[in-house]
């Protein structure tokens, strides 16, 4: 299925070996965040606000402290007041989100935490913490938060990005704007213009493993944290900030992670566990229940988006106008910035205005979720583009081909694209048998496309050659998408030894150089490049050792198929195991480190094709066929690449059809469980067909682009476009649940 531009004849890269972590995971042996048990360990419980917005009048912990088994109770006053210390605003927000100081800003906001000998004692003590609140009026949506006279979450919040700066505070944290050309002229040139307004609800990343952390503090101020996260260096940095200590005093060990999707790049429990451990003098474990995960972590933004686009009769987009408001939750930082940059990035459009607002409201602070911000914008833009194609009678792939960004196109967000593979994903869909498969009654077909930047950032790797010639590859990038396999495959290719001879591990913050979070689809690209660099240093070293052994110049030695060979064949080859066995005589252990700040990010594109069947009497939509084509650059591990492609699609189908945060009028979440927050189950889905497109990223040694995120960008529009094709109803509000579809059908027939 893969479209390969060139085949360099790799031996390991692009193969499908057995995953290295599978056995431990299927036998239950793998240690996840909640699995660690330490001698003398206490169990903690967090006390959370039942109110969406309230001032904390007082917290009385005396009753809780007096209870049997209780060893520590902490509140916001047990942490340094970063605002008083003049800290950076974003650090103050991290600290206040971890534990509230003066106000609670959402239902589920932490106000206190306890540690006790048993879980039951901790739960009882948490209930005994008496918090007196002054309830304040709340705002739950961008509409409420942006309304005239809306209650303010942050009394000093002045909108950034507006010139001149507003004099009055509001719930709008910032405005973003991207402009090009002349909008009026562009719409004037259009033969057809479509304008629509869309809304989406907050959705959770839905990782199966709840957040968990164990902390063991020493009396000298040092502490060890074990936690499940997407970046233990990031957990260290954030925890140090909240605790007011130097990062070097904290050691963080990464547990196995049961899903993150962006939601485990932020801290919740870690600094609380450290402070409780310090107060109690014992290790402390904190584990969230599922309802805490829903109420206080994730989600991504609910949004309101308006899109107006025009096309000429030949399918050329002449102008686009996009207005969007994204919920940030309690503190500024919605992904509206990325949304603004990605919204129309697939296309070469001469005239556009993209305007966006980051809006705070009384819901949990949003966290990154797979291509943060892009999916909602794509839902709106790709739906309107589908309408335009219908209006001018053009094939949905052809209209995208007519406007597709290619190498050299000035991206809507600024730079010129280097070599990219968007067109190839469109062609892969068009060439696939699904594109012309017969549709049954009440079935419809939809196409949508998506763009994501992918990230680079900082990574370190160490490669050790063991005494028998096998290798250990050490990185600090938690493996959430198969990175241990990808690292080992690239190392096998570089060193010329079998994949099975390489063990890739994720080391703690004291054992390997700094690594940024596992996020932004960056690890195979950036950490992979560090592994390749370290392997190349090893190969240089091995050639020098062979030269020394043979007493020849190093340029007489080549490294081929895992062995040193003399260029004229005058010496018997030395294998890696030969050289390893004799390393003591050639300079000692064979080991190399490499660190880098990413070289050459490669943008990712995905085009998807969805067939649905809608029951017109119940409004139930079933996805009956699904194809995703994505440019991986190079699929180092095709199994994992397909897993990422399928995973993004499945989460997108859930977002499209059923997932949503439901709040009551008091701002209390009504569906904080997997029963009523409906992620798809296996039987809801057809096999997600994958077409891996490989247009290598010229800036990576193996052409990697990164594959984790862009797959979630097109599905909501693909599903919506398919529903429109099936029942002739344009759904503009997510989720497209049975209730909403039946309402829309009823309106249509009236």
């Amino acid at each position: 299925m893969a479209i390969t531009e060139e085949n360099p004849g790799y031996k390991w890269v692009g193969t499908r070996p057995i995953r290295p972590d599978g056995l431990e995971k299927v036998t239950g042996k793998a240690q996840f965040g909640a699995d660690l048990m330490l001698p003398g360990m206490l169990f903690g419980k967090v006390v959370r606000s039942p109110h969406a917005h309230a001032r904390i009048v007082s917290i009385d912990t005396t009753a809780a402290e007096a209870m049997v088994g209780v060893k520590a109770v902490i509140t916001g006053s047990d942490f340094p007041d970063l605002a008083a210390n003049g800290a950076h605003a974003s650090d103050i927000d991290v600290a206040n989100n971890a534990i509230a100081r003066e106000k609670v800003l959402y239902e589920g906001h932490v106000v206190a935490a306890v540690a006790a000998t048993t879980r039951d004692q901790a739960e009882a003590a948490a209930k005994a913490v008496e918090v007196t609140y002054e309830i304040l009026p709340h705002v739950l949506t961008v509409d409420e938060a942006m309304a005239e006279g809306a209650p303010l979450l942050h009394e000093g919040m002045i909108t950034k990005g507006v010139d001149p700066a507003p004099e009055e505070p509001s719930n709008v944290a910032s405005k973003i704007l991207h402009e090009r050309g002349d909008l009026d002229q562009g719409f004037g040139e259009a033969d057809v213009v479509v304008e629509r307004e869309f809304t989406t609800k907050p959705v959770h990343q839905g990782y199966i493993e709840p957040h968990a952390a164990v902390a063991d503090a020493n009396s000298d101020g040092r502490a060890h944290i074990w936690c499940s996260s997407q970046g233990h260096f990031q957990m260290r940095a954030y925890s140090a900030t909240v605790l007011g200590v130097s990062p070097g005093t904290l050691k963080v060990t990464a547990a196995e992670i049961g899903g993150g999707f962006g939601g485990k790049t932020v801290i919740y429990l870690e600094p609380l566990a450290v402070r409780l451990s310090q107060r109690a003098g014992r290790p402390v474990k904190l584990v969230m229940d599922r309802d805490e995960v829903f109420r206080a972590t994730g989600p991504t933004s609910g949004t309101r988006i308006r899109v107006k686009m025009g096309v000429s009769q030949d399918g050329k987009i002449t102008a686009a106008e996009v207005w969007m408001a994204y919920e940030a939750g309690a503190y500024s930082g919605s992904p509206v910035g990325a949304a603004g940059m990605t919204a129309i990035a697939c296309y070469d459009i001469p005239n556009f205005v993209v305007e966006g607002y980051d809006v705070v409201c009384n819901k949990p602070r949003v966290a990154a979720y797979r291509a943060p911000g892009a999916p909602m914008a794509a839902f709106a833009v790709e739906s309107v583009l589908d309408d335009l194609a219908r209006d001018i009678g053009m094939d949905p792939i052809d209209i995208r081909l007519a406007n597709a960004a290619v190498e050299g196109t000035q991206a809507s967000y600024g730079p010129k694209f280097p070599r990219i593979g968007f067109v190839e994903t469109l062609e892969a869909i068009k060439d696939h048998p699904n594109y012309t498969a017969d549709l049954g009654p009440n079935q419809g077909r939809g196409v949508a496309a998506g763009f994501w930047f992918n990230a680079g950032m900082m990574s370190s790797a160490t490669v050790h050659i063991n005494e028998n010639g096998t290798a250990t590859v050490v990185t600090g990038s938690p493996d959430i998408g198969g990175s241990r396999q990808s690292m080992a495959l690239m190392a096998a290719e570089e060193l010329g030894i079998p994949y099975e001879s390489i063990k890739a591990v994720v080391a703690d913050t004291e054992t390997v150089g700094f690594n940024d979070v596992t996020g932004g689809s960056r690890v195979t690209l950036a950490t992979g490049a560090a592994v390749v660099d370290a392997c190349r240093l090893i190969v240089e070293d091995l050639r020098a050792r062979a030269a020394k052994t043979w007493d020849v110049e190093v340029d007489q030695v080549e490294w081929v198929d895992g062995q040193a060979q003399h260029v004229d064949g005058s010496q018997p080859p030395l294998s890696l195991s030969d050289l390893a066995a004799k390393s003591g005589r050639t300079g000692g252990p064979i080991s190399a480190n490499a660190s880098l700040n990413s070289r050459g990010v490669g943008a990712g594109f995905s085009t998807q094709l969805c067939d649905v069947e809608v029951d017109p009497e119940t409004g139930v939509t079933r996805v009956v066929r699904y194809l995703t084509a994505q440019d991986a650059g190079r699929a180092i591990s095709p199994d994992y690449v397909e897993g990422q492609m399928q995973g993004g699609v499945v989460q997108g189908i859930g977002w499209a059809l059923n997932e949503e945060y439901i709040h009551d009028q008091d701002g209390v979440m009504e569906n904080p469980s997997f029963l009523d927050y409906r992620i798809p189950v296996a039987s809801d889905l057809p096999m997600i067909d994958c077409a891996i497109v490989e247009v290598p990223n010229p800036a990576h040694p193996y052409g990697v682009r990164g594959v984790g995120e862009v797959g979630i960008v097109p599905p909501m529009a693909a599903v919506g476009n398919a529903i429109n094709d099936a029942i002739d109803v344009r759904m503009t509000d997510l989720p497209m649940s049975p209730v909403r579809i039946l309402e829309a059908l009823t309106e249509q027939s009236d």
């Binding site: 029963l675 409906r678 189950v681 049975p738 209730v739 309402e743 009823t746």
Partner: protein
């Protein structure tokens, strides 16, 4: 909290009469989540699964007897039972997941008192009777009379259901149960509809029962739909009358799982579809038991 697993009905009833806060359970698939969520805290948990009658499934010439605590997986995997009561078997097979069905039971599904319990409309349309044990012996009550409201039953605190009796399915009869959920499994019915019909020799409908779940505080019969069906055939006009009657008896709530308008409309759709399936099955059971 104490746990006791009595081995006889008498032992169980005597435990219940001496421990006012005792709670019986079968598979515990509802009880354990309720305990964990702090919604109940009984002093004594009485496990009924060790009592032979409560997990037995048997039939004679007149009736099937299904133990109240028998795992629903045993029912759905019983070919004879599932062949005779496919609607009830399918309803039991919708509860939770495969793992849950190794523990869940008809007695638990009924006595948990959820308006959305899948097996209840299917038991009601088949005229199932509950054999209830108490300190003074046993009594028999129609399943339709057991639940009185959400989480409420007409059983006394020291009573529990031993088994269900179902008369053998007559010739030219069939049952069906359908539910609407947004997903395909692992969900709770937004609307459930059960139907059973018996056809006359000429193919017209001789008897019909229609019952709905999740659209009122308890499972509700739809007498107007039944009346519309009896004596005729399931033509479009009759089916419209069935749907209208089903929508009409609904007394649902607006909640996170569905709106009043949605539940009413879909109750009509599912009632109609369930009737059609029951008729098709009745036509296939032409003469034999």
């Amino acid at each position: 909290m104490k746990y006791i697993a009595p081995s006889s009905v008498e032992e169980a009833t005597s435990l219940l009469s001496t421990s006012p806060s005792a709670q019986v359970f079968a598979g515990a698939t509802d009880v354990v989540p309720q305990l964990r969520a702090g919604r109940s805290a009984p002093e004594l948990l009485v496990d009924l699964k060790k009592i032979e009658e409560l997990v037995a499934i048997a039939k004679d010439d007149d009736k099937w007897t299904v133990g109240a605590a028998a795992p629903t997986a045993n029912l759905t995997e019983d070919e004879a039972f599932s062949g005779e009561f496919p609607g009830l078997s399918e309803a039991a097979g919708l509860i939770g997941s495969d793992q849950i069905q190794n523990r869940s039971s008809l007695g638990g599904n009924l006595c948990n008192g959820s308006p959305a319990a899948d097996s209840v409309p299917a038991m009601v349309v088949n005229g199932a009777r509950a054999v209830i044990a108490g300190p003074n012996g046993t009594r028999v009550l129609d399943v339709a009379e057991v639940v009185t409201g959400p989480g409420q039953t007409s059983l006394e605190a020291d009573e529990f259901i031993v088994e269900f009796e179902l008369d053998r399915m007559p010739a030219r009869s069939g049952d069906a149960y359908l539910r609407m959920i947004p997903r395909t499994e692992m969900d709770i019915a937004v609307v459930g509809a059960g139907a059973r019909v018996t056809l006359a020799e000429d193919g017209s409908i001789e008897e019909a029962v229609v019952a709905l779940g999740a659209v009122a505080p308890t499972v509700v019969r739809v007498p107007d739909a039944e009346a519309a069906l009896v004596g005729g055939t399931a033509d479009d006009e009759t089916l419209s009358a069935v749907a209208e009657a089903a929508s009409g008896v609904c007394n649902p709530i607006d909640d996170k799982r569905g709106t009043v308008a949605y539940r009413k409309q879909v109750a009509g759709v599912l009632a109609k579809r369930a009737v059609l399936i029951a008729i098709e099955r009745a036509e296939q059971r032409n003469g034999s038991k």
